[in-house]
């Protein structure tokens, strides 16, 4: 108690942020209880009737459960599989590039799309992919092919999601690898050069092994958020014709909750995702810490 009094000026600073946390971060968790309730707006969060696991049962038994889970995993794993090797290659390319000008330009341009919103991205993709006058369709027609409506084609849509994400985030994801490369002891390279290793061998036997732990950490941390397939992106890009391949858990929760007003069911699905995400984050952070990286907490 005396400790608290001694530190009272510290706690004074905390009052406002703490109040903020309780209202905006903990009240929503408290509201999460409607996952187990038949939520009625008139009865409120506390007054609605408890129905146990009914909402969860409805979701797991429904036909869209498998589809949503499949799409969500398809996108988050697909993005990792595409974006990760690209960002590693980009980092190594920038590190090994012997023309500083080229490296600087590529680096600057590659980071930029990370700061554009998905609404802006949608506009850029429209200029590129529009069925009538998009640049890509111009090229296809020039080569004698027939125009494709990429954004409403169920075969093209998953690729557009995965590739546009790689386009946007590849540079930004490379930063952590560039940092890891900067940390490699230069005497390793000097020794290898004296021993007669060429550039390919240096990358294979020094660079890659040196950043391998960082790659493992990045993959593990990504696994913690495997059920986040990118709500903003899908929400901007998808439409009714591609719903079967485009709908992910988050977009479904949005439609079910805020357009159909199935608050209880939508919250149950959000909670389902939250619990799995929580377990995965805790497990992956444990593993990362065991590997010697610093974890979230």
């Amino acid at each position: 108690m005396r400790e608290i009094i001694r530190h009272r000026s510290i706690y004074g600073i905390l009052v406002v942020p703490l109040a903020y946390y309780i209202v905006f971060k903990y009240v929503p968790i408290f509201n999460g209880q409607i996952a187990f309730k038949d939520y009625m707006a008139l009865d409120g969060v506390l007054g609605s009737k408890w129905i146990g696991l009914e909402n969860f049962r409805t979701f797991i038994r429904s036909y869209y459960f498998v589809e949503l889970l499949r799409n969500t995993l398809l996108y988050s794993v697909g993005k990792l599989v595409f974006c990760l090797p690209l960002s590693i290659a980009l980092a190594i390319g920038l590190y090994e590039c012997v023309h500083p000008r080229l490296g600087k330009v590529v680096q600057t341009l590659a980071y930029l799309p990370h700061f554009l919103s998905w609404v802006i991205m949608y506009g850029i993709l429209l200029a590129l992919l529009a069925p009538g006058d998009g640049v890509l369709n111009d090229i296809i027609k020039l080569c004698g092919g027939k125009g494709v409506d990429f954004l409403t084609d169920t075969r093209a849509f998953p690729w557009i999601v995965i590739l546009s994400d790689a386009w946007k985030e590849m540079g930004w994801s490379a930063i952590i690898f560039i940092a890891a490369l900067m940390g490699i002891d230069p005497s390793l390279f000097e020794a290898a050069m004296v021993e007669g290793a060429n550039s390919w061998q240096r990358v294979r036997y020094i660079t890659l092994p040196s950043i391998a732990p960082v790659i493992v950490i990045v993959v593990l941390l990504r696994l913690g958020t495997i059920l986040d397939a990118g709500f903003n992106q899908i929400f901007m890009l998808y439409s009714t014709p591609v719903l079967s391949v485009g709908d992910i858990i988050d977009t479904w929760v949005y439609r079910q909750g805020l357009l159909e007003f199935q608050f209880g069911l939508a919250t149950a699905v959000g909670l389902f995702k939250g619990v799995i995400g929580f377990v995965l984050i805790v497990v992956s952070n444990r593993l990362v810490r065991r590997l010697g990286g610093s974890s979230l907490y």
Partner: protein, 298 residues
């Protein structure tokens, strides 16, 4: 970018082929990233009487470009109002976010504080345990924040990630500086304002820019909570312009004068991105440091 090359060894054929592969790869990345950006930019300057494909339009000489789309946008009250709303959200949002994040990060960085562990958990639990959008929606509507600009930034005013980055930075400030101020009788608030903040300009700017980007780009919260037309920020207007087609398109064309519809769309994309592009050199100057602190500290 690699620094030391003080060992001089004659490059072998394999080295030369390696350098070529690296160059080709970087040029490829450059083209892949630049082409979509370039096609959007040139599209926004497309003259009304242009005949030809958009592919050819990418190579249209600059003296044939037209600024009709930009004139139309800047002469449109709806667009100006949306821009102003976005600026309001940006300024109020960043101010609120920093006023909440800085003290929290500072207190979390005081190692001798009793209850520091509990506090750290209190901050991290909502970060790793996400209950989804509905409970938060119920809170915001319950507070009556609908149709207030605050609904866009207040629910996301503290990003735990940003807070943890800032904490790592504060932890790096030598304790002796703070201790000597405390011995001289400074209160914690004074230590924060007089000792810590002047040393933390870089990190505050970085985190402020991170927040700024997220508020400027947000369309989801605006879509959920702002129903009134007078409150729509730029991303919502942009989304409406981009999604306009058929009959709607006709309406949009009338509202924006005589520039081509696709040019209007591209110009509004570019106008929405401009503040980000302008802030970008500053972001780039500081962000590597900031993200490094957060991801692989020490």
């Amino acid at each position: 970018m690699r620094k030391t090359r003080n060992v001089v060894v004659r490059p072998s054929g394999a080295d030369r082929s390696f350098n070529i592969v690296v160059d080709v790869f970087l040029w490829l990345i450059l083209v892949v990233i630049a082409v979509p950006l370039w096609s959007t930019i040139t599209l926004s300057f497309r003259p009304n009487d242009y005949i030809g494909t958009n592919l050819e339009g990418m190579f249209l000489p600059v003296w044939k470009w037209s600024t009709a789309a930009y004139k139309a946008l800047l002469g449109n009250n709806g667009f100006l109002m949306a821009f102003l709303n976005s600026v309001k959200i940006l300024v109020a949002g960043v101010a609120t976010a920093l006023l909440l994040t800085i003290p929290l990060a500072y207190v979390l960085s005081i190692r001798s504080l009793p209850g520091r562990k509990v506090l750290a958990w209190l901050v991290i639990v909502p970060y790793v345990f996400n209950v989804g959008m509905i409970p938060s929606y119920l809170l915001v509507t319950g507070l009556g924040l609908q149709d207030h600009l605050a609904a866009v930034y207040l629910p996301v005013a503290v990003s735990t990630y940003n807070c943890l980055i800032m904490r790592s930075f504060f932890e790096g400030i030598p304790t002796e500086l703070k201790e000597s101020a405390r011995i001289d009788g400074a209160s914690e608030m004074q230590v924060l304002l007089r000792v810590v903040l002047p040393l933390s300009k870089a990190i505050i700017l970085t985190i402020g820019l991170f927040y700024g980007v997220s508020f400027w780009n947000d369309f989801f919260h605006a879509m959920l909570y702002l129903n009134s037309n007078d409150l729509q920020p730029l991303p919502i207007l942009l989304r409406n312009i981009l999604m306009a087609s058929g009959m709607n398109e006709y309406v949009e064309v009338n509202a924006f004068g005589d520039a081509p519809v696709s040019a209007i769309k591209a110009a509004s994309v570019f106008m929405s991105a401009i503040p980000m592009v302008m802030a970008y050199p500053f972001i780039q100057k500081y962000f590597t440091k900031g993200t490094l602190l957060g991801s692989v500290k020490g």
